[in-house]
Amino acid sequence: MAGKSLSTGKSLGPIRRAFAPWNDPAAKPFIQFQNVTKSFGDFTAVDDLSLNIYEREFFALLGPSGCGKTTLMRMIAGFEEPTSGHVMLDGQDLVGVPPYRRPTNMMFQSYALFPHMNVWDNIAFGLKQDGMPKADIATRVDEMLALVKLEKFAKRKPHQLSGGQKQRVALARSLAKKPKVLLLDEPLGALDKKLREETQFELIDLQVKLGMTFVIVTHDQEEAMTVADRIAVMDQGKIVQIATPAEIYEQPNSRYVADFIGDINLLEGHISSTEGGVTTLDCDGTGAKVQVNQDGGAKLGDRAWFAVRPEKVAISLSPPVDPSVNAVTGEVWDIAYLGDVSIYHVRLATGATVKATITNTTRLVERPITWDDKVWLTWSGDGGVVLTR
């Protein structure tokens, strides 16, 4: 079952590439959070948060547990009401509208399939609530069963299904009513890694095919990067950064985001120059100079951190042409050989460790750089960013 793909077979490239309503000032937001605060007693789950999500967008809320992402989603579904502020959907204020009158549907983390109903009745449940004629319900349910390739399982009860099949039933049930927004609460958390990766692409296909707005909550950064048009990284009830996956990864706006998404090296220092579109950072301890092609974001004299991804750091046994800029030296402390790549942990004179990821492009078993070698680490002026928070 796991191998069956929901893919339409057509490339979604052109649709996905052209889609960027958040850059269009004339575009109307579809879901709007306006200064929303949600408190549970003394605990503030969501703190004065404003956010726009656009129609047909696949939007991810990403953050560690307790960051408020689930609360935010539950406010769209109607299971939580904001303590203050407004939640708007398609121009309509949702505050005070009970969940059973909202044009949104949710796919639950636990799937929440009704155990006393079979697959067919589970999918039909929402349609029956609307008083849809019996014949129409049957057509729609069969359509949904075909969509998730579960036609043969219509009469099964949930406990007679595997994890992947349950996930599909839950998806079909939440899509059956053609909601304006589909909310996905950690939808793939219970699946094993391989099935999860497949399902991520199926979700993307489905979202484009149906032209629906999807909002997904996840703590898995890879999942968010794979499926989403835009990601909001959350921390302690606030959004730290909203951007496309590539922007989040390449241009994080803070150490928190840089650290949360992927692996990062941080070198601390102060800003010594910001002239000519180049920001210069003098590193503490080593005194190494970092020059980044970056305009703004840091002022002269600021405490700042140079953030560079391990795969953008080059490792070499010989010093670079100009070892005073964008280079540090140290000893190889540890090597993690992962097959496709090797990660070198290099200990600097200050005691800090910098990681460099090198793609293993040859079939050498003995690599030229090994433990305790004195090496040079270098990067280009476009390799990293200077962050002040």
Partner: protein, 273 residues
């Protein structure tokens, strides 16, 4: 060490079961006694069962008992289920612990005290004692048993099932009847059965709260025994035992069958058929 039946195990099992069931076995055997003397075996006979059918007093008492048990068990189940939902769902509220403690208090309250308290209440408000006071008293003491049984089921109930129903457009009231109730039904039925049996064999509280014309079977049996045990009493007790045993056996067969069915289905799912 040898497994199985050592003389020690056999002896302890024999003694244990004898301790539990010898009185009941004797009672059943003597219900088929031809002699009028309870302790003297006079040959096999079913005449006491026949004479039972003509004993209007016992039959009336049995009818009262069944009506009270059916009515009080049903109402106690409704009230107990509502109480359980309130206790589990309202979360913490000021006095919540006290409230839940108070629901359970009747479980451990001596029956004499509950009975006396009910009697005093009925006298104070001038409620004529009879069938209805009896029923009310039975509801009061059996309701908390239902609440305990239903509450233990609700604690493990996945709330996201109800949220899913709401999310799919089902209003709260309908959600309760289409999702929550069907799923907690086994616990509710178990609660009802418990309330029914408790009502069926209650003697102490019934004695306090009943009035003329509403004598229950346990009260009737007890009062007759004081005048001397007749084999008729043995016969009616045997019938009661048969009814209860049948209920227990049916319930366990149903549970067992459902368990087997569930395991088979899970095996199917794991195999991915």
């Amino acid at each position: 060490m040898r497994r199985g039946a050592s003389w020690f195990n056999v002896t302890s099992i024999t003694l244990g079961f004898a301790f539990l069931y010898l009185p009941i076995v004797l009672l059943v055997i003597y219900s088929f006694n031809a002699s009028k003397l309870v302790t003297v075996w006079g040959g096999f006979s079913t005449k006491w069962y026949v004479s039972l059918l003509t004993n209007q007093g016992l039959l009336d008492a049995a009818w009262v008992t069944i009506r009270v048990a059916l009515l009080s068990a049903t109402l106690a189940t409704v009230l107990g289920t509502l109480a359980a939902i309130a206790l589990v769902r309202f979360g913490r509220f000021p006095g919540g612990t006290l409230f839940s403690g108070m629901v359970y208090a009747p479980l451990v309250m001596p029956e004499v005290i509950t009975g006396l308290a009910m009697l005093l209440l009925f006298v104070a408000i001038g409620f004529a004692r009879g069938f209805w006071t009896l029923t009310l008293a039975h509801i009061t003491f059996s309701m908390c048993f239902v609440a305990v049984v239903v509450q233990s089921r609700l604690v493990t109930f996945d709330r996201s099932l109800e949220e899913a129903a709401l999310d799919l457009g089902c209003p709260p009231f309908r959600t309760f009847f289409t999702i929550t109730l069907p799923l907690i039904l086994p616990a509710v039925v178990a609660g009802w059965m418990l309330a029914f049996t408790l009502s069926l064999d209650d003697l102490v509280i019934s004695s306090f709260t009943t009035g003329p014309g509403a004598t229950t079977l346990p009260m009737k049996i007890y009062s007759q025994v004081r005048l001397g045990v007749t084999p008729e009493i043995n016969a009616i007790c045997t019938i009661l035992i048969a009814i209860v045993a049948t209920g227990v056996i049916i319930a366990s067969i149903v549970t067992k069958r459902r368990e087997v069915e569930r395991q088979r289905a899970e095996r199917l799912a794991i195999q991915g058929v």
